[in-house]
């Protein structure tokens, strides 16, 4: 293995180990940890064995292994974008609730006598 492969596998292996511990320890967010573990494992496999993406490409009838990686990145980008937008929207809703709470707490009643002034 080249130096690049060794370094990459070490870094990805650390991430995978952290998520594996999270999955086994029954911590919150097991689903997302499991998904990340799959991603790290696939990346490690592809780095150790560069023929792996090509094998997947042949299996799917795509042609080139590089295309498989590209398509996966496009799909991952869309998923991450949607995930981040969801988080953003939820935070926006919380900000609105906060603004609403302040507005209602500090509601200013009609001025006494103003109505008569308007009528005159």
């Amino acid at each position: 293995m080249s130096t690049f492969q060794i370094l990459s596998v070490l870094i990805l292996g650390t991430f995978a180990l952290r998520d594996l511990i999270g999955v086994l320890s029954r911590a919150n967010g097991r689903g997302i940890r499991l998904l990340r573990l799959c991603v790290w494992s696939a990346a490690i496999t592809a780095i150790i064995n560069p023929g792996f993406p090509q094998a997947i490409a042949n299996l799917l009838g795509i042609g080139r292994g590089a295309d498989v990686v590209l398509y996966i990145f496009v799909l991952a980008f869309l998923w991450v974008s949607f995930f981040l937008y969801s988080c953003h929207l939820r935070v926006q809703r919380q900000v609105t609730q906060l603004a609403r709470h302040i507005a209602i707490q500090e509601a200013q009643p009609p001025m006494i006598g103003e109505r008569k002034a308007q009528d005159q």
């Binding site: 969801s86 926006q92 809703r93 609105t96 609403r100 302040i102 509601a107 001025m111 009528d119």
Partner: protein
Amino acid sequence: MQPEQMYQVPDNVWVVIAAYNEGERLAITLSQLLPVAKNVVVVDDGSRDQTAEVARRFPVWLLRHPINRGQGAALQTGLDFARSKGAEILVTFDADNQHVASEIPNVIEPVRTGQADIALGSRFLGHTENLPLARWLVLKGGVLFTRLVSRIAVTDTHNGFRAFSRSAAERIRITQDRMAHASEILDEIRTQGLRYVEVPVTIRYSQQTLEKGQSSWNAIRIVWQFLLGKVIR
């Protein structure tokens, strides 16, 4: 002793106005509204102009969002507040003098008599003044979109003149902070199984309201926000 003023609608009717940078037109709107309804709530949605100062000159409740949150958010704030004050019928009304205050009794009538949970103003059953063709096309597109997506057959989808019974206002929760709230309300009417009727109303477009109002292209953003809001809970 001065006699008690008579209003065109009962005291349990509350009118909610969401106002953002409407200082110029809000005074006219409130002047026409106050002989009709006693209880008016103005929600200043983080305006940078003199909207709050204008509202303070009138005998209305004034609520202020510390930052701009959008018309949908401001309406929900006003509706929550009005309900907390015991409102039995809640009317939403635009701040920019597009609506005609003397039509409020007609709009609330189906709700007051129990014929419907919600009365929706319709400019296409009623009357419009100076409606540009581009806006007409967008509004008709909105009607088609609503019929396809929300499966509710209304003639006007983005009319801010509505009346809710108290129970309907409790059941409908506006989560679309910005302009997509109008589509969300219609969607909620269908999903909650609420009874609704459309009431003819007048909409007056002026150069000022068209300049300040939504761009016709904004319809694309509204559709996008509405669809995403349906998915993300």
